[in-house]
């Protein structure tokens, strides 16, 4: 019995009264974040999709033109709530590129650690969210509880649970507290010990296979061409990773392979997240072991009054969702002339939504979003 063989879209073409609008989000439990699609439905099948974005638009790019170079660091993490540190690091890297400064070795390692910890927190939400959108709330409860352990470590290191504001042009703000690295290593081992539980509940669950296999496929070529990045790109078989292609922080000194999946469907994307999660744990462990002693901050003078020489730069970082890019134009003033943010979710959230959602059933929308790791604030800005 093949239920997909008949389609109601044909009827919809002939009779406009058969379609109705269904607002999927912003106030919908299946939607992650304040974002929405307006689905043009025929029965339970989606006929057309309109994007209902802008609920999180705060005008970051305008506000950043009004604040000082360092003051902007409080704004940038808010661009992606789930994964805040890549934003800080990217912004700092772009500023450092224009100023042409090199940061101390220890600061590089600390940046790597915060980046990877941030990746852990974000991937835990994504994995849990993918489970929860299929009704498997158990995994959501576990991952969120484990994520809190990473947040505890963040709080110890930086003073904030979610927004850390730890990176600063020239390095990081403070050295690690006493006993932090040992405790972090223990936490990583704990997280590793939880992996078999996640696997047996989520990735070996036959119903998950049934729901996710073949959902929302993206081919290798399409993924490269449409601007997908990060796990979504690699889940389609492209061995591309900014951490390898254009190494930043301390990634050139750490050993890791690029993980890829071949299928490019929702299951491959979910599995890709899970494997990258394991890789991030491994990278943190390596970074802790190799951590050099020394200064954590290069002296750039009075940062509060920082003036950046005229110039422009584009810096990018591999976040848990893909490429975060900051294009900064400086005119030699106390404030940036223009900061433009490239969020990783736009190709998936806008373009692939218009490609995938039509002909899909309402059942699959939430999990489709979950596996793409769509984070609304980074395209709403």
């Amino acid at each position: 019995m093949n239920f997909d063989s008949y389609t109601l879209t044909k009827i919809a073409k002939n009779d406009k009264y058969t379609t109705y609008d269904l607002f999927f989000g912003p106030n919908h439990p299946g939607m992650n974040g304040n974002f929405g699609y307006v689905l043009d439905m025929v029965g339970t099948e989606i006929n057309n999709v309109r994007i209902n974005a802008g609920q999180l638009h705060r005008g970051f790019e305008k506000l950043m033109e009004r604040r000082g170079w360092v003051q902007n660091l409080t704004l940038v993490p808010r661009i992606c709530v789930m994964d805040p540190d890549p934003n800080e690091v990217t912004y700092c890297m772009a500023v450092e590129k224009i100023m042409n400064v090199e940061i101390p070795e220890r600061a590089k390692y600390l940046r790597t650690i915060t980046l990877e910890m941030s990746r852990l927190t974000s991937l835990l939400i994504s994995i849990g969210g993918a489970g929860a959108s299929l009704g498997l709330y158990t995994i959501m409860h576990w991952t969120m509880a484990d994520r809190d352990k990473v947040l505890d470590m963040f709080e110890w290191l930086t003073g904030g649970r979610v927004y850390h504001i730890y990176n600063i042009p020239g390095g990081v703000r403070r050295d690690t507290p006493k006993g932090f690295l040992e405790k972090l290593y223990e936490t990583m081992e704990y997280l590793e010990s939880r992996l078999p539980d996640y696997d047996s509940l989520l990735f070996e669950n036959p119903i998950i296979h049934k729901r996710l296999k073949g959902l929302g496929p993206v081919t290798k070529e399409e993924a490269r061409k449409t601007g997908l990045s990060g796990p979504n790109l690699r889940a389609s078989g492209n061995a591309l990773d900014i951490r390898k292609d254009a190494p930043y922080a301390a990634y050139s000194e750490l050993e890791f392979d690029i993980i890829t999946q071949e299928e490019g469907d929702a299951f491959a994307r979910a599995l890709q997240m899970r494997l990258e999660y394991e890789q991030a744990i491994d990278l943190i462990k390596q970074a802790i072991k190799k951590m050099p002693e020394g200064d954590v901050h290069a002296n750039l003078g009075n940062l509060g009054m920082l003036k950046v020489n005229p110039g422009e730069a584009y810096a990018k970082v591999e976040s848990s969702k893909g490429e975060f890019g900051y294009y900064i134009v400086s005119k030699g003033e106390k404030k940036p002339y223009r900061v433009s943010v490239r969020g990783p979710s736009l190709p998936a959230g806008f373009l692939w939504a218009t490609k995938h959602l039509p002909k899909m059933k309402i059942d699959d929308v939430a999990v489709w979003m979950g596996t793409f790791g769509i984070c609304a604030p980074d395209f709403d800005k």
Partner: protein, 204 residues
């Protein structure tokens, strides 16, 4: 710990409340259902309190899918103009009694987006707020404290902001109209004429 309490100021009419009111207030306070709507970045601290680590279900607080079923509306962080529209619509859909908690600094005086062209500065001008909690974003402990405080307020009958919305609808409606029902450009600008001349001719 600074908790500002207006119990004595407010002069609770404990004797005048009927027994039935007391009973319902008790049940309402023990079973507060919150709406599952993430208006801003403060929503990031909601998953931890709803899930295993802090487990707010211990107090009978569970997330609900639609405004019809919910008792509490959480304004988690800044509200952009678009969100404010949806918040007001959501608020008006909720059956009474209903309560609103405003999270984070952004809801009090604009927070870090105070000079943004698309975020509301003070949500209290558009819908009545019961409890405001500062922090960017507030810790789970602070949220739990606030929830317990709201439960106590509901039990004692202090939390009645939803009546303000009915009593002073004119005030709230005027503020809402000022925000949404704009018919002309707010700022005068000479270069405005360069904006639309080309776009109007384009096909939609």
């Amino acid at each position: 710990m600074q908790i500002i309490n207006y119990a004595d100021e407010e002069r609770r009419q404990e004797d005048n409340r009927k027994l039935w009111d007391k009973v319902t207030a008790y049940f309402r306070s023990r079973s507060l259902w919150m709406l599952h709507y993430c208006t801003g970045c403060g929503a990031m601290e909601l998953p931890p309190i709803m899930t295993s680590r802090w487990d707010i279900e211990r107090f009978g607080i569970v997330p609900m899918a639609t405004p019809r079923q919910a008792d509490i509306l959480l304004l988690t962080g800044y509200a952009s103009t678009n969100t404010m529209k949806r918040i007001i619509r959501t608020y008006e859909q909720m059956p009474e009694p209903k309560w609103v908690i405003a999270f984070g600094s952004c809801t009090v005086n604009g927070g870090m987006y105070w000079d943004s062209y698309n975020t509301v500065n003070n949500v209290g001008e558009y819908i009545p707020i019961d409890i405001t909690i500062a922090g960017c974003m507030p810790r789970p402990e602070a949220i739990l404290d606030t929830m317990v405080k709201l439960m106590n307020m509901v039990k004692s009958g202090d939390a009645k902001a939803f009546q303000k919305y009915k009593d002073n609808y004119g005030y709230y409606k005027a503020n809402q109209d000022k925000l949404f029902a704009r018919t002309a450009p707010v700022l005068e600008s000479a270069s405005l004429k360069y904006v639309h001349n080309e776009t109007e001719g384009s096909e939609q």
